[in-house]
Amino acid sequence: MQKETKMAFKDSLTIFPGYMVLGMGFGILMDAKGFSFLHTLAMSVFIYAGSMQFAGVDLLSGSASVITTFLMTVMVNIRHLFYGIGMLKEYGTIKRHRLYDIFALTDETFSIVCSKDLSALKKETYCFHLSLFHHLWWITGSLIGAILGDVLPFNYTGIDFSMTALFIVIVLSQWETNKDHLTVVLSFLITVLCLLLFGKERFLIWSMLMITGMLFLLKRIRGNFNA
């Protein structure tokens, strides 16, 4: 086994508890709403986006229209545009498994890849296996939930905090390596402001627009200072 594969496996274990439990939560919910494990499996394999799948349970059980489903998916997943743009350089030069890597770029995979120094590694091997292991944890979790979720006797309430904790750790480690603290602080404040102004259903799209605007404004100001 290549060292990148081992490393990807080890790194994917940070995501393991969160994906298993969130996946199980999704499977249990699907089961409770009367959908077969095949629906759960298809969603975890082909959609593979946590919050969208939870939103999807409501859409499915309410027999939503195609248009509503489409718009909802855009709203919930639009933040992935950010990740794609952030990964243009890293994933742009990958030859093998590139389509799969892009398909499987979740919040968590994005966060691990962009906190990792890939320069000394075989990037293709590492990214592919990391994406694959994450996907497997997610699929396994949701199947366990769909098939035997309600018989497992353990109170998992609150384990989803592991994702929050992971993202905080990544912000902290980026803070130490990246000198540009202003953009991070401003992004944080803008998102909080948008949450307060627009509510939790709509704040992400506004945050993205305003963060992009802030970045260009900042570049302009700094550019002028440098010149």
């Binding site: 940070t14 969603m43 997943n77 243009l88 904790a165």
Partner: protein, 105 residues
């Protein structure tokens, strides 16, 4: 049958969003997008932290104290040991104990 159509719509739409930046900017990346690509990873993570904490409420103690305490534990343990696993484990276990036993939601 309708449920399968909806699943297909969700899957295709999610893929479309994930592939869009690469389809649009892969061949020739405009200067502005290159700049965004360099800075967005940092901004996106800050946004994601807020996204995770969006259900925090300040009108009751149980609405924000468990999150606050757990976040402090994550930050302090990370500053102390620089271990991702330690910070995630301690923060998550503290959060679970808090909301299951102390601040029941």
């Amino acid at each position: 049958m309708h449920s399968w159509i909806l699943i297909t719509v969700m899957a295709l739409c999610t893929m479309m969003i994930r592939f869009m930046p690469f389809l649009l900017f892969q061949k020739k990346t405009p200067e502005a997008i290159l700049y965004l690509g360099n800075v967005l990873p940092y901004c996106a993570m800050a946004m994601l932290v807020v996204y995770c904490l969006k259900d925090v409420r300040f009108n009751t103690f149980s609405g924000f104290l468990p999150e606050l305490i757990a976040v402090v534990i994550v930050v302090v343990t990370y500053k102390w040991k620089h271990s991702t696993a330690l910070s995630i484990l301690s923060g998550t276990i503290a959060y679970m104990l808090l909301i299951q036993n102390v601040f029941i939601k």
